[in-house]
Symmetry: C2
Subunit: 686 residues, 2 copies
């Protein structure tokens, strides 16, 4: 076929770029059965280098898709951060040890695994759940949006021309030896110019094939040089600094004692080195390159001066008097520190941008891949429910994407700006040295940012998806202390409004994964295991102590309401479950989970809990996986979920959790009218 023939095809969602943000979006599409294309200009996925840090929250998300165990098994777990700074003699010495991840905030801790493996898990997951496959060596070359059609939910207002590259074009020389000691480590660095336009031009000249694709929605996950963003005309805002850092992935041979710890080494006058221990004996070194400065006119560094040897020699000077050498280098690169963010992340709620396409910053805190994936995680279910026509209106869910994620991008940029300055600054010689960075300041920054870097401080502001009642405690009032040692202290709970019915559960944050015990089988499981990423909203009925007759009556009455007959008096559960789907089943967009606080042996599933809470199926019998107890387990202790969330053990509460595990609504079993209103704003009535 020549380029003049342009077959036309259709899809619901087109994803441009198969990095972490694109793959995360595609994972949702795969789980929700959305007709999706995902294209990437590169001929292969990456095999070495690139991003590697995995935050707790990213692992929780992987777990919600069912593959956290693969990442957890292969990754290097980082437990401790060691700080090194100059001693009285000017030599570096260890000044502090702190836990890398604060205890008790997640089932997971930060860990490190090569981006290529993470992409592999996504690809396997997509294959398991759908026929969506990444089309490699394919890139968009033109984009048109028919504005007249953007409000029509059945329309395909987006027209994209896709060019199919030859294998040779999709796999340039640099990529073939990417990052190896003799390869070009700067290919994909922000020190290198973008090659997208060259690829398109070369392909046009050769007459490669072209295809016209009509799409309902499009997601640009095409990196810092985003072609999609350029078509939309969004300008990144922010600036670059003069600081250039090198990166080496090596198997180090050294007498430095903390080479298997995450370290920040601030030398007296040779700059800063960061150590990130990795899988397979590898260690990543981030090295400040004091001797290389960007050209004053162009703002860019001379790339020819940056080699693995230059980077390595800088590292040796910082880590002296310890010896450091290596025989094996897996990858290397260099980058210029800067922070930039796009003013908006979407056009007409039809075209969206995610990941590096809308925020760029320095990689040292291991945030980039995580925040990018979390963009895709925020967007994916909203897109899927909208395509499925389960959203109350076309934009009810989608319109929250930009405000929710741009706020996070802004926080990230601010964090990175502050953190990079502390990293790059010269260490203070003494207390009087006000221009230097004191170790105490660096330590304080680590402590303050521990929650941020875990990804667990993400708080979405009030909207139709995060309902804050007038009686909520404001964000600046700290949550109460928990009486139990295994619950996080208030400073590890994100500052956000909290309902008086769940005083330690901030609205707009992800619900913590406390362990609960299955009523029918005694199995202890994390609450998160009950909230897989399927696209369903969950109503968590904290039923309280149902052995108390007054409380039992309240729960019975709530359940009677839930199953009340069709309109005018039908419940939100009936209103928002399509008529063809039985209430509260796996196929339903709205599901119930019960967590009671009564002694498990004092209640019986079939006797004490109304049928709607554990529905009956003619083939499978009763559903035994929907009623749980906050009680001690035989082997895994007692997590005391009620206390941890600040919910009263007698009277309970109702918590609505979004498909992405974020808390959307907190109330009591009596507030049914308000629940109706909440769901009317997000899900379609049938």
């Amino acid at each position: 076929m020549t380029a003049t023939e342009s077959p036309e095809s259709k899809c619901d969602v087109l994803i441009v770029g198969a990095g972490p943000a694109g793959l995360m979006t595609a994972a949702w599409m795969a789980r929700c059965g959305i007709k999706t294309r995902i294209v990437d200009k590169r001929g292969t996925k990456i095999f070495t280098g690139q991003a590697d840090g995995l935050q707790c929250r990213s692992l929780e998300i992987f777990d919600s898709f069912g593959f956290a165990d693969r990442a957890w098994k292969e990754a290097n777990h980082m437990l401790e951060i060691c700080m090194w700074n100059p001693g009285p003699d000017g030599s570096i010495r260890r000044s502090d040890r702190v836990p890398d991840t604060p205890p008790s905030i997640s089932r997971f801790t930060e860990c490190v695994l090569h981006q290529g493996r993470i992409e592999r898990f996504f690809l396997d997951h997509m294959k398991e759940h759908s026929d969506i496959e990444v089309e490699r060596g394919v890139l968009p070359v033109s984009l048109d949006v028919d504005e007249a059609q953007v409000d029509d939910e059945d329309a395909y207002p987006i027209t994209v021309k896709l060019r199919h590259l030859t294998d040779e074009e999709a796999m340039p020389e640099q990529a073939k030896q990417l990052g190896a000691t003799n390869g070009d480590g700067l290919y994909r660095s922000n020190l290198s110019p973008d090659d997208t336009d060259d690829l398109i031009r070369a392909n046009r000249e050769k007459g490669g094939t072209e295809e016209v694709l009509k799409a309902k929605y499009m997601v640009g996950c095409d990196g810092a040089h985003s072609w999609t963003r350029r078509q939309l005309g969004f300008e990144m805002q922010g600036e670059a600094t003069d600081f250039i850092w090198g990166v080496l992935d090596i198997i180090p041979i050294t007498d430095f004692p903390d080479i298997r710890q995450r370290c920040v080494i601030h030398s007296a006058d040779q700059g800063t080195l960061m150590v990130i221990p990795r899988e397979r004996g590898l260690v990543r070194l981030y090295i400040q390159l004091n001797e290389i400065k960007p050209d004053a006119a162009s703002g860019r560094a001379d790339r020819s001066k940056i080699t693995p040897d230059v980077i390595f020699k800088a590292a040796q000077k910082i880590i002296a008097p310890y010896q450091l050498r290596y025989n094996y280098c897996d990858w290397w690169t260099a980058y210029q520190i800067g922070q930039r963010v796009s003013p908006t992340f979407s056009l007409h709620d039809r075209i969206f941008l995610a990941g590096d396409a809308v925020h760029t910053h320095s990689p040292k805190a291991g945030q980039g891949m995580n925040v990018s994936m979390q963009d895709g995680y925020n967007l994916g279910w909203k897109l899927a429910l909208t395509v499925q026509k389960r959203s109350s209106t076309r934009t009810a869910l989608l319109s929250t994407y930009t405000p929710e994620r741009r706020a996070i991008a802004n926080e990230l940029i601010a964090f990175d700006h502050q953190f990079s300055k502390l990293f790059t600054g010269r260490p203070a010689r003494d207390i009087a040295d006000k221009e230097g960075v004191s170790m105490a300041a660096l330590r304080a920054a680590f402590d303050k940012n521990a929650l941020f870097t875990s990804g667990l401080s993400v708080t979405y502001a009030p909207s139709n998806l995060v309902h804050v009642r007038a009686d909520a405690a404001p964000a600046d009032v700290a949550p109460p202390e928990s009486p139990h040692a295994n619950h996080p202290p208030p400073k590890l709970i994100p500052p956000a409004p909290r309902s008086p019915l769940a005083t330690r559960l901030p609205l707009g944050t992800r619900i913590p994964g406390f362990k609960v015990v299955n009523q029918a089988s005694a199995l202890p499981l994390s609450l998160h295991a009950l909230l897989p990423s399927t696209g369903a909203f969950r109503v968590l009925l904290f039923a309280g102590d149902v052995t108390e007759s007054a409380q039992a009556a309240r729960v019975q009455s709530f359940c009677a309401y839930l199953t009340s007959s069709p309109s005018p008096s039908s419940s939100f559960l009936r209103t928002h479950t399509p008529p063809s789907i039985p209430l509260n089943t796996a196929a339903s967009p709205l599901q119930l989970l019960t967590i009671h606080s009564a002694p498990r042996e004092s209640v019986e599933l079939l006797r004490d809990f109304p049928a709607v809470l554990h529905p009956f199926d003619e083939e499978r019998g009763w559903d035994y996986d929907k009623v749980w107890a906050d009680v001690p387990s035989y082997h895994e202790g007692w997590d005391r979920a009620y206390e941890g969330l600040g919910i009263d053990r007698e009277s309970g509460a109702v918590v609505v959790v979004r498909p992405d595990q974020y808390v959307a609504w907190v109330g009591s079993v009596d507030m049914t009218a308000e629940l109706e209103r909440f769901f009317a704003g997000v899900l379609r009535a049938w």
Copy 2:
């Protein structure tokens, strides 16, 4: 090729039968690189039914091969046992709840997974580590042993003729619909005659192909009707009872409240039902068939009278007044209770028998597959080290197989005899009813046998592989209480001799998997994760508090001895490591692991621990995975391994662990002469 042509081939080990015992043996061969053939007369692995219970110890073993996580993820976890018996009105009612697995004895709890999945994990593991593949539709038809050659370690004294069946023969009609409601559930039951001879005869008549195989060693894992055992002329000893039980794997539809628990339901006069909840909503029911009795003359039941419907109706009567029905049956069978054991398990330490080939019993306590696998686990490494000529003599390791495993088989038979009687007996009407089984007696049997059924009570008697010094506390003296709540009480520690240097660590039992913290990275890991099944003996140096100078000197002196120059003064470590292999590396048959008790931040790996404990490699640098601390971890508490094992925190101890994780020797760092003698009795000097 016709049957008259018989090509001759050679292998080190021939395994007959690819069930759990055979596959476990093959897993060792795969890990140790032994030239192995494994044949099975059946044309496929099984897909439904058969064994399903997985003990803690089996999961620990899977973990030592690296695939416990797959089993753990797919299995149904059994947490609680509910006992039901007749109330005053004669109706069944719940009388007791007990934990299925006693807390704190293992990282795992008992769980249930279909045998076919477990076989799949083994097959995948073999594929990952070797080119050993199960040859299906292949069975031995003749066996000769050249007795003149049995003592020659280079000889192939075993000659076996193997016949290769056609696909049609290897896959009989019954197998094709195995266990389905309309299929023959009794195919493979002990109520059915063996078909091996028919298969051979039919194949001979059709002129199938034949092969002559010479082997150094042979392992018969060919089931209760073992062809191999028959060739050796070993007669099973024991007897059958009149009791016949049926088995159904169904998705039950019921109002019985404990259908997702393990239950024993003793009805007043309709017999006993056992409930085993399984994966995918399935439940296995074991049902006493009171109305079917074996024929007095033949001792066999009339198989035509046993149908799924007959079995199910019996279950309904026992569980009444609760309702029970089903739409889906995955598998069914029936069996006659009996206990039999073979008088010996090997011939000339050249041919070995394992699994059902040497012990048969009733399946209800979920022991069969586990004990069979553990036979293979005990034998495999001994066989591999012998073939590799690492055993001190040809029979030094192999001669321990029969005594170690026959003792376990005898315990199993005794356990099953007692347990089956309690299960099958009529429940006592009241205290005066001496002929009935009291619920208290059944509960006591469950409590007493909890350790046995977990597989963790296995204790190998003193031998060259289990060294018991004169100063050991005898088996009948209970180990001391631990001051820490998370350590098992003395009744959950197997009764066996214990060294005064490790007062809670019985000799000949598997070492517990206490969590320790990596000195270099702060990673907490179970001790078991440091003892993978590679075939290596491990010397665990509990180095004590090395911040105390006297103790540090003792450890230095032990390490100086370890690396002392070649003979006459060379250490056991040098003597038993082949000269081509660096000391204490992954390839070595003898490895060191250090667990110290000093505060982790007070010691440095490179400064405080001699190099032999964390050897240097020119490509990989220092080994950071060999020195660990018994200290609190940031996220997973403090397991207090020293206290749990009864080792003094100041002065430590040395513990030798066999390749199968069983404790072989306990002493102090000063007892080097005794360590020499121990290793001289098991490993070859170079």
